[in-house]
């Protein structure tokens, strides 16, 4: 039988705040074990968590950027489970009043993947199991996360990939997270069920936990699809379970089934007050949102007339877009700016991270100066490329490579004098030209170029020469 894949994703995104969600400990990555901890984030008795304002702001930003409605009265809940990565034996999360609800993310095809909810919660500590011990580091404990829960609108591994990529892009644009999957600042749980094509009744689902790479997500979904399809084809029933994906074998295996599912006994967190967010605050955050990726891509193609291939290359990196847009706002032409960026600068921005941060010592101001020279025909595009390449390598301004005198040309009086000399010193060429040999004038051009070190405007010189000869 043919089956339709039905999938929803729960995506954890680490927020780029300076401090943890309930205490002033730093969220900076790394550090010796348990050096970024205090009584609050290690769950000591009597410690009182206080919610970080920026966590709420960032979560609202994420919600607005994914078209969610914001619940302006929101509280936190205790999710009880006993495992040593949680020092309190509960995680502070949100259960029935998430900060954001009912949004969507639009795919390239125009299809919308619904966002059920976005809530805030604290990250757990890190465990290392070695010999007879489990070693615990709570430096990551209490780092703020948002969990973005999608509707089961995803119909293929490719759609899942695109959805996650779009989320990454949006979160980076609005500055709430760097969303680096390999470093764990973004990770996904993937729900999958199958139903016969044409059916509307969802099958039993399984959940693959903690996926930290786009390609693993695709592979794990494809594997899980065929595993479930085989069970159904053989008349069996899929067992609701939590799975793990083994990157080495490319297979999924059962971690636990529904029978031993956890009862989290959620209840309202008594240590943290219910938060009432002023409407003005929400509007202030909405007004501060930058242009979102999809809108930018559309504008680049439709308004700036950037060709779609280049627009795709640019819009993925907000820092690059900011650079290009600033150069354009300073008067640089769109076409040359884009071509020089994609053609010359991208070869210097080798890694994704370099592009993400626009890691080059070229300012938009200097870029605009250079592009304007090319726009006005004062330098040709090859020289512009070479100059930009050096600027990117050496971090010097345009003036270090192209001087004023290079561009100033030769003034008219001087040029006339030189033309006269050219005519006087080349009697043969002048005679040939008079006799009708057009090409003989090139010898005079050569003289002028040499005398001015190539700075003379040959068009002007040509006009002067002709006058002199015909006199």
């Amino acid at each position: 039988m043919k089956y339709q894949l039905v999938s929803g994703l729960e995506t954890h995104v680490e927020l780029a705040t300076a401090t943890k969600i309930f205490c002033g400990c730093t969220t900076a990555f790394g550090g010796a074990p348990n050096t970024r901890c205090c009584p609050v984030c290690t769950g000591q008795p009597g410690a009182l968590p206080i919610l970080n304002k920026r966590v709420v702001e960032f979560a609202i930003r994420a919600g607005l950027a994914t078209h969610c409605t914001i619940n302006t009265t929101t509280h936190l809940d205790r999710k009880n489970y006993c495992y040593p990565d949680l020092p309190k034996a509960y995680q502070i999360s949100q259960f029935d009043k998430p900060l954001c609800e009912h949004g969507y993310v639009e795919l390239e095809s125009g299809k919308r993947i619904g966002i059920t909810r976005i809530h805030i919660e604290e990250d757990a500590g890190k465990l290392v199991h070695e010999s007879g011990f489990t070693f615990i580091d709570y430096n990551r404990g209490g780092v703020p996360l948002i969990e973005i829960v999608s509707e089961p609108d995803i119909s293929s591994p490719e759609e899942a990939r695109e959805y996650v990529e779009k989320l990454q892009l949006i979160m980076r644009y609005i500055g709430v997270s760097d969303c680096k999957m390999q470093e764990g600042s973004m990770r996904c749980d993937v729900n999958i069920s199958l139903m016969p094509v044409g059916s509307t009744k969802f099958g039993t689902r399984t959940e693959i936990k903690n996926m930290n790479s786009l390609s693993y997500i695709e592979k794990a979904m494809a594997y899980e699809y065929s595993r479930q399809a085989e069970i159904l084809d053989n008349g069996g029933e899929v067992v609701q379970a939590t799975m793990r994906y083994d990157e080495h074998t490319g297979e999924t295996s059962v971690m636990r089934t529904k029978e031993d599912a956890q009862d989290y006994r959620y209840f309202p967190e008594p240590d943290i007050l219910t938060v009432v967010i002023p409407e003005e605050k929400v509007e202030e955050i909405r007004a501060s949102l930058p242009e979102l990726p999809t809108d930018k891509l559309k504008r680049y193609v439709n308004e700036l007339r950037i060709n779609p291939a280049n627009a795709q290359l640019l819009y993925k990196y907000k820092a690059v877009c900011d650079f290009v847009e600033k150069a354009i706002s300073l008067g640089a032409g769109v076409k040359n700016t884009v071509n020089l960026t994609v053609g010359t600068l991208y070869s210097k921005l080798e890694t994704e991270d370099d592009k993400e941060r626009f890691n080059l010592p070229v300012t938009a101001e200097e870029m605009a100066k250079l592009v304007k020279l090319a726009d006005e025909g004062k330098i040709n595009i090859t020289l512009a490329q070479k100059t930009l390449s050096k600027m990117a390598e050496e971090g010097k301004p345009v003036s270090a490579y192209i001087s004023e005198s290079d561009l100033a040309g030769v003034d008219e009086g001087e040029l006339e004098g030189i033309c006269k000399k050219a005519v006087e010193s080349n009697p043969q060429a002048v005679a040939d030209f008079k006799a009708g040999k057009e090409k003989a004038i090139f010898a005079l051009y050569g003289f002028i170029k040499k005398a001015t070190q190539g700075k003379a405007d040959i068009k002007k010189a040509d006009a002067i020469l002709r006058q002199l000869i015909m006199k």
Binding site: F22, G24, N34, H129, T274
Partner: protein, 97 residues
């Protein structure tokens, strides 16, 4: 209702807090004020229960949230001083097979 210094000390011990003698003295009238406030609510409730709405927690205004400013953490020796530790890690009996 009167609160004694002894009661403050008991509460402090339960909450694993340490107060100086000076602080303990300072908290006596403050605690009395809190208790009296709770008492006044109780009197209200006895008078008119219909108008009382259940509230799970007090409401925080936006300004009561914490600013995102880094404060010093505790030294890791302090954090692990009450537990079995190894190289700065909390060390517990292995939790997975």
């Amino acid at each position: 209702m009167a609160i004694s210094e002894k009661e403050i000390k008991t509460l402090a011990r339960l909450a694993r807090l340490e107060f100086s003698e000076e602080e303990t003295k300072k908290f006596v009238p403050e605690f009395e004020e809190i208790i009296n406030f709770a008492d006044s609510i109780n009197q209200q409730v006895e008078g008119d229960t219909a108008s009382i709405r259940e509230v799970t927690t007090r409401i925080a205004t936006w300004d009561e949230l914490r600013e995102d400013e880094v404060k010093p953490s505790l030294p890791s020796e302090k954090i692990t001083s009450n537990v079995h530790s190894d190289n700065g890690y909390f060390a517990v009996r292995r939790v997975v097979k």
